[in-house]
Structure formats: structure tokens, C-alpha cells
């Protein structure tokens, strides 16, 4: 399909002005849809945080995170905060109709997001090596019997809530990066994602949890391909704004997880 017709359907938005009642919240449909999704998603996270608090209240909660974990998590937080800033810049560029800079800022946002995921992945790997683990995880060699190992057997809820909450959030960030990639590069993003998936499968050793988790990328690749096949279009300022909403939300969720999971469990 030619880009001109794509452009047409894209800007038509809900395109119903005139013969219809004014939308109740004055926003276009996609934006309303995203807000509603975020409402629902905040309950999904809310339920996980409820599970976390429920366990935390009834247990003597360990506080094992040392300096390097906290520094690492702070850098991750900085990445996400910066990515929100670049996201805002992307939305501004899109509203100016500045294609090139929209793409650049989106790519910058993705870079920060990816940095967050990689740092987080390394943090997980380190903690698992030190013994913080779930019975269902693969057992890497050299897992020592240090403090984290004792916590994993003594207060299993600690590892469970840690991995549960952060995995769910990491999944959201990953979806966000793929979403941004589709908006920024459209179908050209698919081969890039494919290469990343293949590369990660080969590079990550089999005793690492991410050896399996990385297949989420393949799933994302398939879903993105289906969506691009059904709706091949050029994304406009509205689309950029809508994916921005999602991105800021994921950022916001981290601002709950970081203090609850990390800061409140710092070694005193």
C-alpha cells in the first residue's frame, strides 16, 4: 500500500466529527483506549503489590540489598527517568511533524529502555548467583550459601515477590520497547528484533533464566508482525502520544517498585 493512503487512514483517526456527539472526554479514541488500558493495568500491578504487602506485613522481612544493588537500581531508575524525557521530546517532535526527530527521540527512548532491561537482567543474574532464587529456576554452577541463599530458604516470599514484581515490570518495559520500535521504524523493526532474539538465544548460557525468558521477544515479534500486517500504516502524532502514555505509565510503576522492593530492603 502506498504511503499516501496510509497517511490518509492514519490521520482520519476516528474521523467522525460533525455527525456524532462530541466524545465524552474530548480525546480521540486511541487515547481513550490507552487510558482505559492503563486503568486496568494499574489494577493488575495493584494486585501484585497487594500480594507483596500482604506477605511483607506478616513476615519478618529481610533487608539484604547492599550498596552495589542499590547503585545499580538507581542507575536503572535514572535510565527510565531519562527515557521519559526523551519520550516527551518525541511527542513534541511528532506534533511539529518533524519525522526525523520523532524517530530519533523514539530510538533514544528505546535505548534507555534497553539499557534498563540489560542492567536489570545483570542484576537478576548476580542475585541468582548469590543464591536468591526460586525452586523452579535453573541452578547455575557456583551458587554459594551466602546471605541470599539463606533468605531464599528462610523467607521464600522474598524471592517470590521480588522476581514476580520485577519480572512483570520487565515484561512491560520489553513490550514498551517493541511498541516504540514498531511506531518508530514500522516493518523495518521486525528484522532488528529478530536479530536481537537470535543473538540473545545464542549468547545467554543455558543455566541463565533469560535463556528461556528471551523467547518473549519471539512472541513479541509474531504479535508485532500480525499487527503490522493487519494495520500497515504510518504512525502519526496521535500514535506517538498514545505510546508515550504507555511508556510514562511503565516508568511510573517502577517508581513504586523501586522504593518498595529495593529501598525498603536496604541493608541497614
Amino acid at each position: 500500500m502506498a504511503d499516501a493512503t496510509l497517511q490518509h487512514t492514519a490521520t482520519a483517526g476516528h474521523g467522525l466529527a460533525g455527525e456524532f456527539e462530541a466524545p465524552l472526554f474530548g480525546a480521540y479514541s486511541k487515547k481513550v483506549g490507552m487510558w482505559l488500558f492503563l486503568a486496568s493495568d494499574s489494577l493488575t500491578f495493584g494486585a501484585l503489590l497487594f500480594a507483596f504487602s500482604y506477605n511483607r506485613i506478616y513476615t519478618v522481612w529481610p533487608t539484604p540489598f547492599g550498596k552495589d544493588s542499590i547503585i545499580n537500581a538507581t542507575v536503572m531508575t535514572a535510565c527510565l527517568l531519562s527515557s521519559s524525557l526523551t519520550m516527551v521530546m518525541a511527542v513534541f517532535a511528532a506534533q511539529r511533524n518533524d519525522r526525523a526527530w520523532t524517530r530519533n527521540w523514539l530510538l533514544a527512548t528505546m535505548a534507555f529502555g534497553t539499557a534498563f532491561i540489560v542492567l536489570h537482567g545483570m542484576e537478576w543474574t548476580k542475585l541468582i548467583h548469590e543464591g536468591l532464587t526460586l525452586p523452579g529456576f535453573p541452578k547455575p554452577a557456583g551458587q554459594d550459601a551466602g546471605e541470599f541463599a539463606k533468605i531464599s530458604t528462610g523467607v521464600p516470599q522474598f524471592a517470590a515477590t521480588f522476581f514476580g514484581l520485577t519480572a512483570m515490570h520487565m515484561l512491560h518495559v520489553t513490550i514498551g520497547v517493541i511498541y516504540l520500535g514498531v511506531v518508530a521504524l514500522r516493518k523495518w523493526f521486525l528484522p532488528i528484533l529478530g536479530v536481537i532474539w537470535l543473538g540473545a538465544t545464542f549468547l545467554i548460557p543455558a543455566d541463565n533464566v533469560f535463556h528461556y525468558a528471551v523467547h518473549a521477544l519471539l512472541l513479541g515479534l509474531i504479535v508485532a508482525a500480525i499487527i503490522l500486517f493487519l494495520k500497515p500504516k504510518v504512525y502519526d502524532a496521535h500514535d506517538v502520544e498514545v505510546c508515550g502514555l504507555y511508556w510514562h505509565f511503565v516508568d511510573l510503576v517502577w517508581m513504586f517498585i523501586f522504593p518498595l522492593v529495593y529501598l525498603m530492603s536496604t541493608k541497614i
Partner: protein
């Protein structure tokens, strides 16, 4: 301006697959949902038949099914409950009729997100396939009931069916959550953004209001169930202990410790109670629509109806604890939950009185849709009256997990919602398929089904008060319950007759779709927008024009009007809202 509509409406479909299988047309998707639910309800009903037979004759070997062991009974009841609640009550009224008629009733050419709509149907379909697969894996279907309480549901070794079968069950529920979220998003956005000129919120038919509020509940409730399900999967497959304390199964200490089954109960019922309103609200909307149409009177208290539904939706999120009075929860919170639950009785009563007020002194046309709508009100009252009893912690200690509860929720949630679906089917099939359904067989079907459901579910209340426990298969073995076996026999015979009578319905349905007399555009002389367009409606619903609305939805018996009803699109006449 017509171009902007066509620009929004996707191009007319080409080819069989895009037209009937992966269609983006909300009407086709609605019909797909409808037939999915119809399939599911037959599966669910067949399972209930097996259960009822097993209760009377525990020893018999059945063709096709073989022996029913006590644990098989539990599998049957788990799958019966789950299929009925998710794939029938959540699927047909909202996904089916809502999908088909919400856009038409507000004058929109389609849903706001047609692709999402299609994905939501096919995701539901996948969820159904996954749950049916649980029958066929080794160990069979799970035993933990539709509520999936841990520790039973959280331990692979807790019984046959708690292995792969239970994993499939949870996976299916999680997929279903995603599908419902997509659907709810679409319903809400469509209602907020795509109402035709003049279709203000307070001119929307009560059906639209009910689908709208149901979608809000779905949006907020399913996300929580999704999280709960993920944690349960983690407990089962990663060895975490969110829901499992230190337990011993068959003399073996399981590797879990420190978790709390109460956590699951909180999360599950935070979803579960809104879920029962997701099941019943669309029925309320349909009943209001039909009672007004066939009484030839405006609905009594339109605004009160809207506010009552909103209140029900609001309070629906604050009463989940009434399912947990026996769980060891603090008595103070039990008191609060009890009080809040009683509060829901108020808007429910308002609705009931308004339905009665609508029929009061009316020239009622007793056609099949009307009979079913009246049946809905009847069941809603009969099932609803036992609610305030169960809401008393003191009484619930006696009644919890007995057949009293089974009778209560079958009447109010199960069969009342089913009656709403029957009413909707008889009322809307002429518009959906362009053919009338047979009146005589419709009435016969109604009277047998009404008498049958009361015969099945009323005796359950006595059984429950006498101490007949729920989810128990060996009644023939319990001495103190022998006196109640005649009741069980009566219920089983009634169930066999009622289930047999449902063949009348499907035969009538399919015969009418293909052979029934052609329907006119407005056979019931209704006022809402779907009756202004062709039968069946064209691809974009209104043939390129967008209707303009001048009247409220239920302008019947308007003084001075030429006919006894004023369509919503007629030039403003009579009263205006």
C-alpha cells in the same frame, strides 16, 4: 461527510475468510461470540446432566464417559462451573449481543477498534480450546472448583487433574482475562466516542448502559484475576509460596512455606463478585428494554435505572469479603462486608420495582421475548431474596458451602442470566438473521424451562438448610441425608426434562434462521436505532448515513403521536429527555 464514515469503516470484506472467519465487522463477531457461547452452554449442560445422574446412581457406568469416580465428579463440577461462568455468562450477553447491538443502538458504524474486536474474539476462542483440552490430558480436568482455591489448586500432586489439567485451566482463565480486557476497552471507547448526533448519555437505551457498566467492571476486575492467576502458575511451576503454607500431602511435606490461601481468596473474589454482576447486568438491560417495549409504556424511572446500575457496579467492588466469612477473616471486616452487601439490595430493589412499575396497568403483549423478560424478573427476585440471608455472617456459617448457596447462585446468576439471553435471542434474532422465530414453540420452551428451573433449584435451598454439603458426590452413602434423597431424585428428573426441552430451543433457532418467516424491519414496534435500519443491517449498519437522534429510548404511548410509539430518530415529538 459520508466519506469520513467510510474512511473510518474498514473496506467491505472480500472473500469467505475475511467475511466470516477473521471478520472485522462487529456484527459478524457478535454472532461468532453467540455461537461460541451456544457451544459452551451445551458442554456445560451435558456436564451438569452427568453430575445429576451420578448423584442418584453413583455406581453406573455411562456410555462415552465410563465410571464416574468421586474425583471425576469434582472434575465435572469444576469444568461445568468454569465453562458456564466464563464461556457462557461472560461471553454471550456482552461479547455476543453487546458486540452486535451496542454500536447499532448508539448509531455508530462499528466498534472503535475493529481489529482489537476481532483479536478479542479469537483470543476467547483459544481460551475455550485450552480449557476443553484439560479433559484430554493425563489426569484429566482439575478438581478445585471454579473458584480454584489453593492449596488444592496450587499443588501438582494434590490429586488427579491437578497436574497438567490444572495448568491448562489457569492458562485458559488468563487468556480469557486478556480477551475480556480487549473487549471491555472497545465497548467503553465506542460508547464514549461514537454516539450519533443527539444520542446523549441519558438517551442511551438501558441495554447500552448495562453493556457500558459491565465493561467498566470487566476492565477493572479481570486485570486482578490475571495477576492472581499468574501468581498461582508461579506457585505451581516455579515453587513459590504465595498461596501455600507448609502443607503435608499423603504424608509428604511439600516444599512450600509461609504463603496464605487467604491471599488468593481476596484476589479471586475481588474479581469474583464483580464477575457475577458482569453476568447479570446485561440481562437487566435486556429485561428493561423488552419490558418497556412489550408493555407499550416508557420504562418506569429511566434515570433511577441508570443510577441503580451505576450503584450496583460501584458497590460490587466493595463486597467481595461476603464470600469469606468462614475463612477466618477478622469479624470486624466481616461486619463491614455484611453491611455493604446489604446496601446492594437497595439499588437491586429499585430496579425490581421499576420493572414492576413498567408493567403496572399496561396493555402487555405476551410474546416470547416478553415471557422471558418476566421470567428474568421472577428469577432475579427468587434468587435475590436469599442473598440478604447469606450476607449475614451468622447465618452464613450454617449455610456456607451447602446446597443453599448452589440454589441461590443458580437462580440469580445462572438461570436469570440465561433467561436474559433467551429473551435477547427471541427479541433480536429477527434483526440478526432476518427471520422470525416460531412463537408457539417459543412459548412451550419458556413454560417448560421456567417450571423446570424452579423445580431443579428451589429444592436445593431445603437441602442446604438440612446440611447437604456442596461439591459432594456420595449422597447415597450419608445416613443423615437419606431422608433428602427423594428431593435429589426430583431434581435430577427435573433436570433431565429441562435439558431435553432445550432441544426445542436450538431446533427452533436453527430452523428459524434458515426457514422462518421473513422479518420486517421493526417486528416488535420498538423505538431504538437497530429497528430503523435494514434487516439484517448492512455492512456499516446504516447504509452510509448516520442517524440523528431526537428522542429518548422508550417513547411508548406518547400522547398526540400518530402511532403508540416514537422512534428515537423521529422528529422530536412528545416528551424529551
Amino acid at each position: 461527510m459520508a466519506t469520513s464514515v467510510t474512511a473510518h469503516a474498514h473496506a467491505g470484506p472480500q472473500g469467505f475468510i475475511r467475511k466470516y472467519i477473521f471478520s472485522l465487522d462487529h456484527k459478524v463477531i457478535g454472532i461468532q461470540y453467540f455461537f461460541l457461547a451456544l457451544t459452551a452452554v451445551w458442554v456445560g449442560m451435558f456436564l451438569s446432566l452427568l453430575m445429576r445422574i451420578h448423584l442418584l446412581w453413583p455406581g453406573v457406568t455411562l456410555p462415552l464417559v465410563g465410571d464416574i469416580k468421586p474425583e471425576t465428579y469434582l472434575s465435572l463440577l469444576t469444568m461445568h462451573g468454569t465453562i458456564m461462568v466464563f464461556f457462557v455468562l461472560t461471553t454471550a450477553p456482552q461479547g455476543g449481543f453487546g458486540n452486535y447491538f451496542l454500536p447499532i443502538q448508539i448509531g455508530a458504524p462499528d466498534m472503535a477498534f475493529p481489529v482489537l474486536n476481532m483479536l478479542s474474539f479469537w483470543t476467547t476462542f483459544v481460551a475455550f480450546v485450552v480449557i476443553i483440552a484439560a479433559f484430554f490430558v493425563s489426569g484429566g480436568a482439575p478438581l478445585h472448583g471454579w473458584t480454584g482455591y489453593p492449596p488444592l489448586s496450587a499443588l501438582q500432586s494434590a490429586g488427579p487433574g491437578e497436574g497438567l489439567g490444572a495448568d491448562l485451566w489457569i492458562t485458559s482463565i488468563a487468556i480469557f482475562c486478556l480477551a475480556s480486557l480487549m473487549g471491555a476497552l472497545n465497548f467503553l471507547t465506542t460508547t464514549l466516542d461514537m454516539r450519533a448526533k443527539g444520542m446523549t448519555m441519558m438517551r442511551m437505551p438501558l441495554t447500552v448502559w448495562s453493556w457500558f457498566i459491565t465493561a467498566i467492571l470487566g476492565l477493572l476486575a479481570f486485570g486482578v484475576l490475571l495477576s492472581a492467576g499468574i501468581l498461582l502458575l508461579m506457585d505451581r511451576n516455579m515453587g513459590t509460596s504465595f498461596y501455600v503454607p507448609l502443607v503435608v500431602v499423603n504424608g509428604q511435606i511439600m516444599g512450600h512455606k509461609g504463603g496464605s490461601p487467604l491471599l488468593w481468596q481476596h484476589l479471586f473474589w475481588f474479581f469474583g463478585h464483580p464477575e457475577v454482576y458482569i453476568a447479570i447486568l446485561p440481562g437487566m438491560g435486556v429485561a428493561s428494554q423488552i419490558l418497556s417495549t412489550f408493555s407499550r409504556k416508557p420504562i418506569f424511572g429511566y434515570k433511577a435505572m441508570v443510577y441503580a446500575m451505576l450503584a450496583i457496579g460501584f458497590f460490587g467492588f466493595m463486597v467481595w469479603g461476603h464470600h469469606m466469612f468462614m475463612s477466618g477473616m477478622s469479624p470486624y471486616s466481616a461486619f463491614a462486608f455484611s453491611l455493604l452487601t446489604m446496601c446492594i439490595g437497595v439499588p437491586s430493589a429499585i430496579k425490581t420495582f421499576n420493572w414492576l412499575g413498567t408493567m403496572y396497568k399496561a396493555r402487555i403483549r405476551f410474546q416470547t421475548p416478553m415471557l422471558y423478560a418476566i421470567g428474568f424478573v421472577s428469577l432475579f427476585v427468587s434468587g435475590g431474596l436469599s442473598g440478604p440471608f447469606l450476607a449475614q455472617p451468622v447465618l452464613d456459617i450454617q449455610l456456607h458451602d451447602t446446597y443453599f448457596v448452589v440454589g441461590h447462585f443458580h437462580l440469580i446468576m445462572g438461570v436469570a442470566a440465561i433467561f436474559g439471553m433467551f429473551a435477547a435471542t427471541y427479541y433480536w434474532v429477527p434483526k440478526m438473521f432476518g427471520r422470525m422465530m416460531n412463537e408457539t414453540w417459543g412459548r412451550i420452551h419458556f413454560f417448560i424451562t421456567l417450571a423446570g428451573t424452579y423445580a431443579i433449584f428451589m429444592p436445593m435451598h431445603y437441602l442446604g438448610i438440612a446440611g447437604g454439603t456442596r461439591r459432594y458426590s456420595q449422597y447415597t452413602e450419608v445416613a443423615y441425608l437419606q431422608k433428602l434423597m427423594p428431593l435429589h431424585q426430583f431434581m435430577t428428573y427435573a433436570a433431565i426434562i429441562t435439558i431435553a426441552a432445550q432441544f426445542i430451543f436450538v431446533i427452533n433457532l436453527f430452523w428459524s434462521i434458515f426457514r422462518g418467516p421473513k422479518a420486517s424491519d421493526n417486528p416488535w414496534e420498538s423505538t431504538t436505532l437497530e429497528w430503523t435500519t435494514a434487516t439484517p443491517p448492512p455492512h456499516d449498519n446504516f447504509g452510509g448515513v448516520t442517524p440523528v437522534v431526537h428522542n429518548g429510548p422508550y417513547e411508548y404511548a406518547v400522547p398526540g403521536a400518530a402511532r403508540d410509539f416514537v422512534m428515537q430518530t423521529d422528529p422530536a415529538a412528545g416528551t424529551t429527555h
